[in-house]
Amino acid sequence: MKRDIIGLVDCHNCPEMGSLTANRALASTSFLGRYAFADFALSNFCNSEINDVCVLVKDHERSILKHLGNMTSWLTNTKIGREQILYNERGILNPPFNHDINNIRENDWVLYSSNASYLVFMAPHIVLDIDLRPIIAEHIARKEKMTMVYKPLEDADIEFRSEDLLEIDEEGYVTSISKNDGTKKKANASLAIWIVNRTILADIIKRHGAVNPLYGMKEMIPYLLRVAPFKIHSYKFEGYARCFDSFAHYIEYSFELLNAGVAKELFNPDWPIFTLTHDTPPALYGKDSKVVNSFISNGCVVEGEVENSIICRNVKIGRNTKITDSIILSNVAIGDETIVKNVVIDKYSVITSRQKVEGKPDEFVYLKQGVII
């Protein structure tokens, strides 16, 4: 177990997904019926034997706290390990200053109370399985000050639009960092995984006010690249990684995982994704249920038809109802003889019997939390 590393789940740079994230953080937004986005970063830390983890919360702390609870779901040792929720109390009143550097500064006791020499940042909106151990080992062996993880893309004009693009020299050092303006197809996209030496982070926090007090880590790193007396190294990751940068991509990437071949890249029995248990019973299917190509979560009672859809916990689907190409979040009840197609239905909504709710494949209907139709 690596005890000299702190893992940071940085929620400050998550993109917005319209109404879906209007009242919740992306980190605690439901994904594939069973997960919240933060589960992937937290599980990557846990599986990489990093047991000292902090979540840097930007806003919507209620929804994050509800999912994370006492956070022991992602810890190997609950005494040696710790998981902290760090929250910038002053920042919430002053949004331009509510960034990750100020959050760490507000909560700098986390650094003082640990002997960790390295910090690893991960962003919850980038979903991937990544073993951080070899990356950290390389970072330490090469005596680097900072390492950034990237993924080479063929379609950077549509993917990873919220992330930076990196240019890398032959020795693997980053030579330029630029925003992804959608003009390049082939590019190296940052996975927002940064390995930083503790002394460097302390220096960033110290100098940050003089550079630009509005800068977060994402802005400070390009600045460092220009002025720092050290180079930023890179690490290439070529596995499955998706950046959830828009509502359209949320839908696209969720449905993509209905393909068993793609799902296999994310769900590896040796790399479990941990999440909070709700102690719901297994899904129950009626005698006339017809379900194909779908994820169905525990607690569901399905008596109708479900096709190409993702159904979260405790959803009831009535008789002769047909759900197609839709994402239904938890605790939704749908009556009998109802048609739902190309729709995202948020939690606790009720669709009564004999209704028709239809969107278009390129224009999904979104029903917000708690609506009754």
């Binding site: 069973r34 994704i273 248990t277 019973p281 129950l284 017809k290 379900v291």
Partner: protein, 378 residues
């Protein structure tokens, strides 16, 4: 529940009639309902009754069960003022002993009970499937002034001769007792669930331990002895779903009872809300139903992958049913694998067991067949 009560769950039995399913695990640890182990039910019932001191008496193949019970965290029994302990036979100054009977198992753990210092002790069986709280039974025990309250279940008269039968007067006082009678005088079967006033129980256990002719069994020794002494024993009639799964067929039937439209009074979905059944979290991937699958009248847990056709099945996590496979009226336990084109009928497929592609299991539907081979994923 503010009154101080401790629960002791008897979980040492082998469950011989479950054959290969209990070759490596004790009967209370056998998988049930797609997600649970049988012992989750009494443990969840204790948690839901606000009972915070629970001893689990284990003996046969105890290591898996002991680690499963752990500190009781899965059932929330790890909070302040809570204690959950797996109690196995141990070596002491007087020597070492196996548990010689149900009463002896409690007797050997009197020290544990003394430390908890309860006013009442609830004795439960680790291999019964039912969801309830014990609040009402305890209230009855206290208000009736009994020294022992026995939970009874009304069975069909023609089946009464298979059970220990209690005969009561109009005030529910137990006046007589028949063990598997040819001519039953009542249809109230003892469920093996007792509430004792601890002081009485303690004295009875110590006396019984000294009696070399005793089988050290609650049903055979402690209860008859208390009746002979003229102590007040009261029956508490339980209504609701209750099942003691002793055989492969009854384990299969109890699983099928969980399916929708089974006409039974209880399923897992009616016990949700305040009285959930808690269990281990398996960290599974989401449950996936494939493009050519057909699913009807099933109960399927997270982590299962269904590509074939399943009907009237209870399916556990990480179970895989390949394309073209047909499974009917079966229980698929954790991690089992039904190969492509295989046909399975009326069966229990054990944990991590493989039904090879194209093979046929119990097509003649000759009773309930058990397949246990541990070959899946190898």
């Amino acid at each position: 529940m503010s009154t101080k009560i401790a629960a002791m769950i008897l979980a040492g039995g082998k469950g011989t009639r479950l054959h290969a399913l209990t070759r490596k695990v004790a009967k209370p640890a056998v998988s049930y309902g797609g997600k649970y182990r049988i012992i989750d039910f009494p443990l969840s019932n204790c948690a839901n009754s606000g009972i915070s001191s629970v001893g689990v008496l284990t003996q046969y193949e105890s290591s898996e069960l002991n680690s499963y019970v752990g500190n009781g965290e899965k059932w929330g029994l790890n909070g302040v003022r809570s204690i959950a302990s797996a109690l196995t036979p141990k070596q002491t100054e007087e020597g070492s002993n196996w548990y010689r009977g149900t009463a002896d198992a409690i007797f050997q753990n009197i020290d544990w009970l003394d430390k908890v210092d309860p006013k009442y002790v609830l004795i439960l069986s680790g291999d019964h499937i039912y969801s309830c709280t014990y609040d009402e039974m305890l209230e009855r025990h206290i208000s009736s002034g009994a020294e022992c309250t026995i939970s009874v279940y009304p069975v069909e008269w023609n089946e009464a001769s298979r059970f220990g039968i209690l005969i009561t007067d109009k005030d529910s006082n137990i006046v007589d007792f028949q063990e598997k009678p040819k001519v039953p005088k009542s249809n109230l079967a003892s469920m093996g669930i007792y509430i004792f006033t601890y002081k009485t129980l303690r004295a009875q256990l110590i006396a019984d331990a000294k009696n070399e002719d005793s089988d050290h069994d609650f049903g055979k020794n402690i209860i008859p002895n208390m009746m002979a002494e003229g102590r007040k024993l009261v029956a508490y009639t339980y209504h609701g779903y209750w099942k003691d799964v002793g055989t492969i067929a009854s384990l299969h039937e109890a699983n099928m009872d969980l399916l929708l439209d089974n006409g039974k009074p209880t399923n897992l979905y009616t016990v949700q809300g305040d009285n959930k059944i808690y269990s281990e979290d398996t960290h599974s991937a989401p449950q996936y139903i494939g493009p050519k699958a057909s699913v009807s009248k099933c109960l399927i847990n997270q982590g299962a992958n269904i590509f074939g056709s399943v009907s009237r099945c209870v399916i556990s996590s990480e179970a895989i049913v390949d394309e073209g496979a047909l499974v009917e009226n079966a229980v698929l336990m954790q991690g089992c694998h039904i190969g492509e084109g295989a046909i399975v009928k009326d069966a229990i497929i054990g944990p991590s067991s493989l039904v090879e592609a194209g093979s046929k299991v119990n097509l003649e539907q000759d009773g309930i067949v058990l397949v246990v081979n541990g070959k899946a994923g190898k």
